[in-house]
C-alpha cells in the first residue's frame, strides 16, 4: 500500500458515521431535570420575542434564562424560588400566568364584568320586547295591508 491510498482510507474513515456520532448534544444528561426545566420555561415569557415562552425561543436571552433555570434547579431551588428570581428582575410581565394583585384585578375580573354587563343588557332587551307586544296590532294591520297590495298586483297581472 502506498501513501496516497493510506491517506485516502483515512479520509474516508473520517467521514464515516462512527465519528459523526460525536456531535450528539449533551442535553439528555438528566432527563428528569430537563423535564422540569422545560415545565418552568413554558411559564416564562421571553422578553426579546414577547409572544414566545423561553422554552420556545432560541434568542440569546431565552437560552441564558433556560440555563439559569437549570442551574437553579441543580442547586435544589424550588419552582417558586425561580419564579420569584425572574419576577425580581423582569417584573410580573415575565410570567405568562399573571398573579392576582391590585393592578391585575381588572385583568382577571374584566371578562366576568363583561359577561354581567352583557347579561343585564340582554335581559333588558328581551323584557322590553315582550312588553311591546302592544305593537302586535300594528303588525297585524301591516300584514293586512300587504295582503291587499299583493292581491291588487295579482289582479293587475291577470
Amino acid at each position: 500500500m502506498n501513501l496516497p491510498s493510506i491517506l485516502l482510507a483515512l479520509l474516508l474513515f473520517a467521514h464515516s458515521p462512527f465519528l459523526a456520532s460525536e456531535e450528539a448534544r449533551p442535553l439528555a444528561e438528566d432527563p428528569v431535570l430537563e423535564e422540569r426545566v422545560k415545565a418552568i420555561s413554558y411559564e416564562l415569557r421571553c422578553l426579546v420575542c414577547q409572544n414566545q415562552t423561553i422554552a420556545d425561543s432560541n434568542a440569546g436571552l431565552a437560552i441564558d434564562l433556560r440555563n439559569q433555570v437549570r442551574d437553579m434547579l441543580k442547586r435544589g431551588m424550588s419552582d417558586t424560588d425561580i419564579r420569584e428570581f425572574m419576577v425580581a428582575r423582569y417584573g410580573d410581565f415575565v410570567l405568562y400566568n399573571p398573579p392576582v394583585k391590585n393592578t391585575t384585578v381588572l385583568l382577571w375580573l374584566g371578562p366576568l364584568l363583561m359577561l354581567v354587563i352583557a347579561g343585564v343588557v340582554a335581559i333588558r332587551v328581551i323584557r322590553s320586547r315582550s312588553k311591546s307586544s302592544a305593537s302586535q296590532d300594528l303588525a297585524d294591520a301591516d300584514i293586512n295591508r300587504a295582503r291587499v297590495m299583493l292581491a291588487e298586483s295579482d289582479e293587475k297581472r291577470s
Binding site: L47, V48, G60, L65, V87, R89, Y90, G91, D92, F93
Partner: protein, 176 residues
C-alpha cells in the same frame, strides 16, 4: 329616550377609541422595571482595559453614576453612542460601561472606532450581571445613586431628551 338609543353606539365607539388610542401608543417593549428604587445588584467584574483588575459596585458607592449596558454587536448602541460619549465628556457623573456578552477584542476595537469616554468599562462575558439587572434589550442604562439604589432605567438607546428631561433632574436630586 329615542335619542339616547342612537347615542349608545357613539359612546361605545368613543370608549373603544380612547382605549385603543392609549393602548396603541404604548410601547410594548417598555416593560416597567421592578428594579426602580431597589438596590442595584452587586457585581465585581474585570475591567476591559486593565488586565487582571476588577471593579465592583461597592467602588461606586457615595456617588451618583450611570451604568450603560452596551455591546459591539448591538446596532442601536451605535446609534446611542455619540450621546453617551457627549454626556460622559461633560463630566456630570461617572458613566460606567458594561460590555454585555461581547468579545473583548471586538469591544476594544468598537470603542477605538466610535469613541471611549466611559470612566471605566467592565466586562460581563457570560451575561450573568446583565441577567441580574434584568437586561433584555441592549443598550440599557441605569442611574444609580450614592446608596446604590437604582433611580432610573431606560431600555433602548438614550436620547438627548432623556438626559435633559429625566437624568439630569434625578442627578440633581440625589447628588450630595
Amino acid at each position: 329616550m329615542k335619542v339616547s338609543k342612537f347615542l349608545i353606539p357613539l359612546v361605545v365607539f368613543l370608549g373603544v377609541s380612547v382605549f385603543l388610542f392609549k393602548g396603541l401608543s404604548l410601547n410594548p417593549r417598555e416593560v416597567p422595571s421592578p428594579l426602580i428604587d431597589k438596590p442595584a445588584p452587586a457585581f465585581s467584574l474585570p475591567l476591559l482595559h486593565e488586565n487582571g483588575s476588577t471593579l465592583s459596585t461597592n467602588d461606586m458607592r457615595g456617588q451618583v453614576w450611570l451604568l450603560n449596558v452596551f455591546a459591539s454587536w448591538c446596532g442601536p448602541c451605535l446609534e446611542e453612542h455619540p450621546i453617551i460619549v457627549d454626556f460622559s465628556e461633560r463630566g456630570v457623573i461617572p458613566v460606567l460601561g458594561l460590555n454585555y456578552k461581547d468579545n473583548p477584542v471586538n469591544a476594544k476595537r468598537w470603542l477605538e472606532r466610535h469613541g471611549d469616554s466611559y470612566s471605566s468599562v467592565v466586562v460581563d462575558l457570560d451575561g450573568r450581571s446583565g441577567l441580574d439587572y434584568g437586561v433584555y434589550g441592549v443598550p440599557e442604562s441605569f442611574l444609580i445613586d450614592g446608596d446604590g439604589i437604582i433611580r432610573y432605567k431606560k431600555i433602548g438607546p438614550l436620547s438627548q431628551a432623556d438626559i435633559e428631561a429625566d437624568i439630569l433632574p434625578l442627578v440633581d436630586k440625589y447628588k450630595r
